[in-house]
Symmetry: C2
Subunit: 393 residues, 2 copies
Amino acid sequence: MTPPAPPTGRHRPPRLRDVAELAGVSIKTVSNVVNDYPHVKPETRERVQAAIAQVGYRPQVAAQQLRTGSSGMITLALPSLTFTYFSDIAQEFIEAAQRRRLTIIVHTTEGGPEAERTVLQGFERVLGDGVIFNPLHLWEEELARMDHTSQPTVFIGEHLPEALPRGSDYVRIDNEAASFDATSHLIAQGRTRLGFLGAITSPHGEQPHSSGTLRRAGFKRALREHGMDPASAVLQEVRDWHRQDGFVGMAALLERMPDVDGVVCANDDLAIGVLARLRRLGRRVPDDVAVIGYDDTPDAPFTSPSLSTISPDKQQLAATVLDLIAERIAGYDGPPRTVDVPYTLVTRDSTAVGRRAQTTSEPTSVDPIVSDRPDSETTAPDPSAVDLEELPR
Amino acid sequence: MTPPAPPTGRHRPPRLRDVAELAGVSIKTVSNVVNDYPHVKPETRERVQAAIAQVGYRPQVAAQQLRTGSSGMITLALPSLTFTYFSDIAQEFIEAAQRRRLTIIVHTTEGGPEAERTVLQGFERVLGDGVIFNPLHLWEEELARMDHTSQPTVFIGEHLPEALPRGSDYVRIDNEAASFDATSHLIAQGRTRLGFLGAITSPHGEQPHSSGTLRRAGFKRALREHGMDPASAVLQEVRDWHRQDGFVGMAALLERMPDVDGVVCANDDLAIGVLARLRRLGRRVPDDVAVIGYDDTPDAPFTSPSLSTISPDKQQLAATVLDLIAERIAGYDGPPRTVDVPYTLVTRDSTAVGRRAQTTSEPTSVDPIVSDRPDSETTAPDPSAVDLEELPR
DNA sequence: TCCAAGTTCTACAACGTTGCAAACAAGCCT
DNA sequence: AGGCTTGTTTGCAACGTTGTAGAACTTGGA
């Protein structure tokens, strides 16, 4: 009887058995030491620990997962890390997970709806303990049709159905309210000829884009509630969410509304493209046109001029999501829960009022208007408005 | 005798056994179908496939890994996704891995050397089949001291020792040569008062920063080889690699060399900070000062003016790295290999010559100088210099 | 001295999968 | 018909880990 050949050329990592033999105890005792089981004689524990160190033992997740049913791995499925917003989100999740001794598997769904369906179906293999999923193209009805998820799932993003599938939760930023705030800010600064620039139809063409729709709705509501005619504003649709789309879309918007004096962009990348277009045309920001973005990417303080934007609390988003999914993994099987995380409105130069355009503009400290909720405006420090002479971080 | 309780409240995913019972065959036959073993009667195969679809069977990676010793998971350890360069890299790896049906676990080492040591020691648990590791703070000697890695490893980045640990390979961009090219480009454009801006000492303070040192060396060599005195140039050290550091560092550089007319930045983020500083001071780019970066982040075409930079071929980097690590995982145990991947010099407005400063500048098509190697300058299309009216991607 | 009540340690089985070897079936040749 | 080859299917064992149950040891009180 030949033992099965080792799968690869390199030698296998040490096992509990190797430690046990070296320490002269049973495998289970080593396991007990590794798992901090209390009833181990201090002397034995020490001897085992020495053996562990000597052979360099590390537990094998695969075997633990097989035995216990959980691996400490969670899949994070995002559209693409090439959007600064998502790479920021990913970083927050990875850090938050590391703090909880969890491991994040990053999966991207650039392929569109098909790739997103794969996520929902649990991929082709059973891998981690759960999924954190930010769908972009899946439409409400498709999600609503599912009666349960294939594994513990927390959705992030927007425009999900009222009734989530069993086994899932939902953490979101109130996009409509945030966009309402952004628009109201422009109006408060005296802007009257407003445009909205965003992607409504998904680039994959199947359905309206969730966040885009909500942000546009907030824009329109702000106009209405401030006594302006929503029909007087220009809603400029763009194809996707990248800088290029903002650059191109702004040209189109200007054609329809040459005297626009305020633009609400559906994200910062679009706003950056908008700024580039305005610069090319010699329009001054904020003097001639005010521009506001959404996401507060690391670029925002460094655009020219620095960009006012909506800043979602990504850290709290990550923390909340991990809490929820941890509960699901631990066995909670109650009804879907929906949690809102806060955002703030960060005002920088691109929406300032009564300023001459400067040949230059730069990251500066401003007193940001911060609002957790549409109706509760307060002031708080803006983490991004550091004094740059102070060598931050 | 009670069977061990299921680990969580939710019911377990279907197993081979469930499929086998439904199809009326043995577990092994189902396994054979799943793994495309050829000697299965078409009729049986069909029946089994129907059963698989019916119960929604998906193989459990944990059990496969335990049995076969490999999981198809690879850890990617990067400093932080908040640097655009690294999030781009991560995206490339994730996509390339998905194409090969591999799974990427992203780990970040923001903590500095300590976190990087953890990576080398293989983390606390045996998880995937290998590691792709971009160290930032670990110094040469520490790596040189290791005689073998704890698992198949491919290093990316720079300044690794000549003699890598057994079991590892190394894929790099020739930073010194690239920086030489960037500097030569400025010189060719007629710039004579040059400055270099980069982080040399690691922010964690222990050792010289690898890439920074190499890029500075290329800068100095370019001066020498073009008959300029390296001592006449200003080497401005900055603390870290972020936009802020460029913003602050440029002020310091100007104090030491007020009439600087060309700045080589160690990465694009620094260059963006430099541009912001110059804008603030009313210096025109490129008329008064030319600025060149390194990385070709997605920001580069959208800065003001658009930024010339070194563009590493990230896609090929990812492909090469995955090839190497796949060989290691498959059992290759030969000596460490080092592979260079190409880069190109992308020229945009920030280093143009004989142009009046425009009130605006924007992403434009230029004829890029592209060089794979210092001595082989050729012309090729610049993927980032798309015609933005064409609604790219 | 013996037993009860800890405390510490161990044997066994099972998690889901696949490599191996062998069993079985079918077709073909002598 | 018997044996040989080829094609198809199966049983068994093992990967490394942990929960359960119980064995072995220690302590202390009667």
